[in-house]
């Protein structure tokens, strides 16, 4: 595939810019976005505080009070992106790590499994086995700290979000909607279909690497029993 080019640079106010590559979800574009974000981070540009890979582009958050903050930050941001692309992104090494998340798909945790099975016209056990069989990729993080939007969901499991969101989804809930899967890092309101729960702590500010998942990571889910869930949860 030819290397994608930025469609344009969109100001997010005067303190950030979004360099957009695609306005629709394209997994190949997203994989370039992940590598690009890492390449820009590595440059340690002093007036850029945050580099955020999103589904279809990369956002750069500025420190406008920095002494080296340029007069035309949008031009500089675009130049930085084009320069990084020109130098060639590292395509040999996958930037993401492999992460395996244990998930208990038993009824007690799978609040929406029945509903999803009905909509997908599959037996409930198959929802779980298909979900655990795929490899996922963290396409973007957001909504809450440690909350990853992961692509790679089996097309047969692509069901819409719940008509009305839950006021509180329990921490660790593994949920699906459309063609993505997520794990709720803590108890929070949410509208995705919950099909299991992981005992792992997705985000802990006290850890050196606070988030379990990072942009670009490859993720697999491993089915575990309730007993294993309880044991793993106790060791967290």
């Amino acid at each position: 595939m030819a290397q994608p080019r930025p469609l344009g640079v969109i100001p997010l106010g005067d303190s950030a810019a979004y360099v957009e590559f695609s306005s629709t979800l394209d997994l190949e574009v997203n994989s370039v976005v992940q590598r690009l974000a890492l390449a820009i981070l590595k440059r340690k540009v002093p007036w850029i505080r945050d580099v955020v890979p999103a589904l279809g582009g990369v956002a750069l958050h500025f420190d406008p009070d920095h002494a080296e903050f340029p007069g035309k930050p949008l031009d500089e941001a675009l130049a930085l992106v084009n320069d990084s692309l020109k130098q060639g992104l590292d395509t040999r090494n996958d930037p993401g790590r492999e992460v395996e998340l244990p998930v208990c798909y038993e009824r007690e945790f799978a609040l929406d499994l029945g509903e999803v099975a009905k909509k997908a016209n599959l037996p409930p056990e198959e929802i779980a086995s298909r979900h655990a069989a795929a490899e996922y990729r963290v396409l973007m993080m957001g909504f809450a700290p440690g909350h990853a939007y992961m692509g790679g969901l089996d097309a047969k499991l692509a069901v819409p979000r719940r008509a009305s969101p839950r006021a509180v989804v329990p921490a660790g809930s593994v949920a699906i909607a459309n063609e993505q899967t997520v794990v709720y890092p803590y108890a929070i309101s949410g509208g995705w279909n919950v099909i299991g729960r992981t005992p792992m702590v997705l985000f802990d500010a006290a850890r050196a690497r606070p988030s379990l998942l990072w942009p670009g990571d490859r993720v697999r889910f491993r089915a575990i029993s309730k007993a294993q869930f309880v044991e793993l949860a106790a060791n967290q």
């Binding site: 969109i10 100001p11 106010g13 303190s15 505080r49 945050d50 700290p145 500010a205 942009p215």
Partner: protein, 324 residues
């Protein structure tokens, strides 16, 4: 040394300059809603501008300091028997009562030496949704004892200790407080501005919006006419920023504030000029705001001017202290 919380107020949290560098894992910078007032309060007691202070919201706390403590309160004006925008030496064991806000919504109480809470991911700010940072990751409660670093060694402390009034006769300017409402807030067009129907585009700048009661540190919901898009097609979720104005399907715009989500799936009609976010943060629920469009260049100019006003206020404070 510590300060005891006799009454916590509505929402009193420890906040500093914010936590940068983690937006790619979904953690917003957070920090003080009005960083200008934070910087002034810190300067008055001799701390670095982004140091941690108490962010006091709408109804203030009652506090008791164990030792003589140099404090300053900047930002919103609250009822209470202490002077605003001035350093004041609070005697040990006395009750320091902050009433309700009468102008603005948020004030910052800084203490000389600062609050001795541990930084989490590079910041002492309280992140309420994640229950970490600041004091025990939460708003202050009755009975809390917040540890303080010793500020008594500071030159400013001894200056005031020698005066009868235990304060000074000058004050820092309230840079972010509105004289009248509606306040004027500048915006540039958001990424999806063109997808809104023309009557909604006009309504956005013609309406005097009110900050809805269900507003908080994450976002301000704005009451007014619902805004609509002709093709209600979904947009690809993308990045957001402090000051992004999102419009969910309900049509009620939400201005993203300090504890905002880092990405979002709602169309963004506007982005607030960074210079004006601190003034917006000073609106309490019911407060009125009016948006005016500007170019990115003008937004950058406004920021430069705001920065210069703050710098000259900080120089003014240093100059006053430097006089014999």
């Amino acid at each position: 040394m510590s300060v005891r919380v006799l009454r916590p107020g509505l929402l009193t949290t420890v906040q500093d300059h914010g936590r940068h560098g983690f937006q790619r894992v979904g953690l917003c910078p957070g920090g003080a809603m009005d960083p200008v007032a934070l910087a002034l309060a810190n300067a008055l007691v001799g701390n670095p501008p982004g140091d941690a202070a108490l962010e006091i919201t709408v109804i203030g706390p009652d506090l008791m300091f164990e030792e003589d403590t140099l404090v300053a309160v900047c930002g919103a004006e609250f009822l209470g028997s202490f002077p605003h925008n001035r350093p004041v030496l609070v005697p040990a064991g006395s009750r320091f009562s902050v009433g309700r806000a009468i102008r603005g919504a948020r004030a910052y109480l800084a203490v000389a030496g600062g609050f001795a809470v541990d930084p989490v991911l590079g910041s002492r700010s309280t992140y309420l949704p994640g229950h970490f940072g600041g004091f025990a990751g939460r708003a202050l409660k009755h009975g809390d004892a917040l540890p303080l670093r010793d500020g008594a060694a500071s030159e400013r402390f001894s200056r005031l200790k020698g005066t009868k009034e235990r304060t000074v006769r000058w004050s820092a300017p309230p840079l972010t407080l509105p004289d009248r409402e509606p306040i004027l807030v500048h915006v540039i067009e958001g990424q999806h501005h063109a997808s809104f129907d023309s009557s909604s585009q006009r309504a956005f700048v013609d309406t005097v919006w009110r900050v809805a009661p269900e507003s908080n540190r994450m976002g301000f919901r704005l009451s007014g006419p619902p805004l609509g898009r002709p093709q209600g097609d979904e947009i690809l979720s993308g990045p957001t920023c402090l000051g992004s104005v999102q419009v969910p399907p309900s049509g009620v715009p939400i201005a993203l504030m300090a504890d905002h989500q880092t990405t979002g799936g709602y169309p963004r009609i506007a982005e607030i000029a960074s210079a004006d976010v601190a003034r917006l943060a000073q609106l309490a629920p019911g407060g009125k705001v009016h948006f005016a469009r500007c170019s990115l260049e003008i937004a950058a100019e406004l920021r430069k001017h705001a920065r210069e006003r703050l710098d000259s206020a900080l120089r003014g404070i240093a100059w006053e202290y430097g006089r014999k």
